[in-house]
């Protein structure tokens, strides 16, 4: 084969790889266009501010929005301290050859790969049936109080699920803080913890925020882990206690899509719900992408 034919064959195959790349972009665009075209006209103020009515065939999704927000807020409160401190241990405190650090890393990698439905089983088996029952016994509740699905258990289950996300992004952020900052601080007589709190963590803050945002976006979209740990099919009341059940945008999507008695009638509601859920997760993801590209560029400029 001459060089020209080889080049031509190569060019053809290169085009194929380009097509593969654009197939992915194309599918994303297709999903977005479909959801926007069918859902945009139904996302009105009434839809966002009313509970569902007429046996889920009318009304809005207000309780689902509040439920999702409350769930992810509790999850964030639980996962951030643990995730950030674990990353701090891995990057700042563990000695290079540390066995424990190696084990923690293996655990984090595997935790990230556990199927989300298994997290659901874990939430049921550990939080509700073990911790919840134990609390009921210790606190002397006669009927089930903690040993039932509720927003606290669902959010803690999601916190375990999103832990790897937070650890990985925090560690990346810590890695981007230049070593000079630490040595300068230590040389001025600051202790390790003072250096950590006043120099390293502020420097890593954008990256840590990225981790938080990614965790929230992941947590807001997961449905399988909350199926048996607290999500409610229909509940016009907002969650008022840590053990109340709640409505959720993702679960609501699932319910509308699969359990509706009249598919055509719920179709607009379904599309509008999906649009709201997508906008929420995309907005969060976009924020994360923007913060990350900025800090990466800054880190690249600093060296």
């Amino acid at each position: 084969m001459t060089y020209t034919t080889r080049r031509a064959v190569g060019l053809f195959l290169t085009t194929l790889t380009g097509l593969a790349a654009f197939l992915m972009v194309g599918m994303l665009a297709l999903i977005l266009l479909d959801v926007i075209a069918n859902g945009a006209s139904h996302v009105t103020w009434t839809f966002l501010s009313q509970p569902p009515s007429d046996g889920m065939m009318g009304g809005g999704i207000f309780p689902a929005i509040v439920g999702t927000a409350a769930l992810t807020l509790l999850m964030t409160l639980a996962v951030m301290p643990v995730g950030v401190l674990t990353a701090v241990y891995l990057h700042e405190y563990a000695s290079p050859g540390s066995r424990l650090a190696a084990w923690v890393r293996v655990a984090v990698v595997n935790l990230a790969g556990v199927p989300s439905i298994v997290f659901g089983l874990f939430g049921l088996g550990f939080f509700i049936l073990f911790v919840g029952r134990g609390m009921d016994r210790v606190l002397g509740y006669e009927e089930m109080h903690w040993a039932q699905p509720g927003i606290l258990w669902a959010s803690l289950t999601l916190a375990v699920l999103t832990l790897p996300v937070v650890i990985v992004s925090t560690e990346e952020a810590l890695r981007a803080v230049p070593l000079d900052h630490r040595t300068a601080s230590l040389a001025l007589g600051a202790t390790q913890s003072q250096t950590l709190v006043r120099v390293v963590l502020p420097g890593a803050l954008p990256g840590i925020l990225t981790g938080a945002v990614l965790a929230i976006s992941r947590g807001a979209g997961e449905v399988a882990p909350i199926l048996f740990t607290g999500a409610a099919y229909f509940l016009p009341d907002l969650p008022s206690h840590l053990n109340s059940q709640f409505m959720h945008l993702g679960y609501h999507t699932y319910v509308l899509a699969t359990q509706s008695p009249d598919v055509e009638a719920t179709r607009p509601l379904l599309y509008a719900t999906v649009l709201v859920l997508l906008l929420l997760t995309f907005a969060l993801n976009l924020v994360a992408v923007i913060i990350r590209t900025r800090t990466r560029r800054k880190a690249a400029g600093a060296h």
Binding site: Y3, G10, L13, T14, L16, G18, A20, A21, L23, M24, M27, L28, I31, D34, V35, V82, L85, T86, L90, Y93, S95, P96, L100, V104, A107, L111, A112, G113, V114, P115, S116, I117, V118, L121, F122, G125, F126, L129, V160, L179, L186, S193, G221, E222, V223, A224, L227, G250, Y251, T253, Y254, A257, T258, V274, L277, L278, T281, N285, L286, V289
Partner: protein
Amino acid sequence: MDRQVVMEQGLTETLAVPRLSAAARRRQLREKVIAGIVTLVAFTGIAALVLIIVFVAKEALALFLEPEARHEASLSKMFLPQVVRQGKPPAFVWQPVSNVPKVSMIPLFIGTLKTTVVSMLVAVPVGVFGALYAAEFAPRRLRELLKPVIELLAGIPSVVLGFFALMVMATVLQDTFGLHTRLNALVAGIGLALAIVPVIFTVAEDSLTAVPRSYREASLALGATPWETAWKVVLPAAAPGILAACVLGFGRAIGETMIILMASGNAAIVSASLGDSVRSLSATIAAEMGEVVVGSPHYSILFFIGVQLFLFTFVLNMLASAWTKKVIKRLTGSAS
């Protein structure tokens, strides 16, 4: 690594100062306590993983301990063909809620296998080729645009992908291929591919970009075309990473729940046809856990399925991380 040495030196030098003031000693104690707390928190990740397997396995254990559960769902009933009706040949049937519960897991395995294979057949070529394009051929600008867009695709909740497969793709595929059931293994598999393509793309792209520039320069200097360089030099060099990408995607596909639950039709049919409805392991847990009596044999079986899913993905993850380490070691080791 250097930083650690510097910090350790800093600490030992402080320790070496004779006769510390009371304030300094208090400060040292405080540092030790803080380091202790940080180390303690780091155990959470390990604890979480251990607790997951322990508590999921604990609920499944009744299957092997309690006589009633052992009778209803023995290992042979779960994995070997059983005579369902008198006079008929033995078969694999999943009907856990009936007068005589039939709990063969084979239909569920077949369902999971079918959807997973379909999704891998779609996602591996698209993901790996896409990564090759992004890493080797795309202009820099385009590449910087492509990566965040794929990250957005990865950020779509699986329930939305399931919804899309159910509402849009099912109809399109049924019209194109003339399938008799609207929800089937093909629809679920392609929906699943949407979820795992970003995983494969991201990991494959990372390992392709980790290949040193000198490999490409040497190949081009010897007269290879850019395609030959990408296909015969860069791709083989990154092979363990690409394999890891596929294995990670495979693990994700086995465990993914919502897409299959919504788009597969959920009928536990034993057949080879991709046009038939299927029921996967993960979707079975999601669909049946809501109505099951806590502590019943059926309940234990669902947790037992969870244990199996955990073990499958655990093994796949360990393989993938071993291979990723290998590619990094090989490339950085031979480059420097």
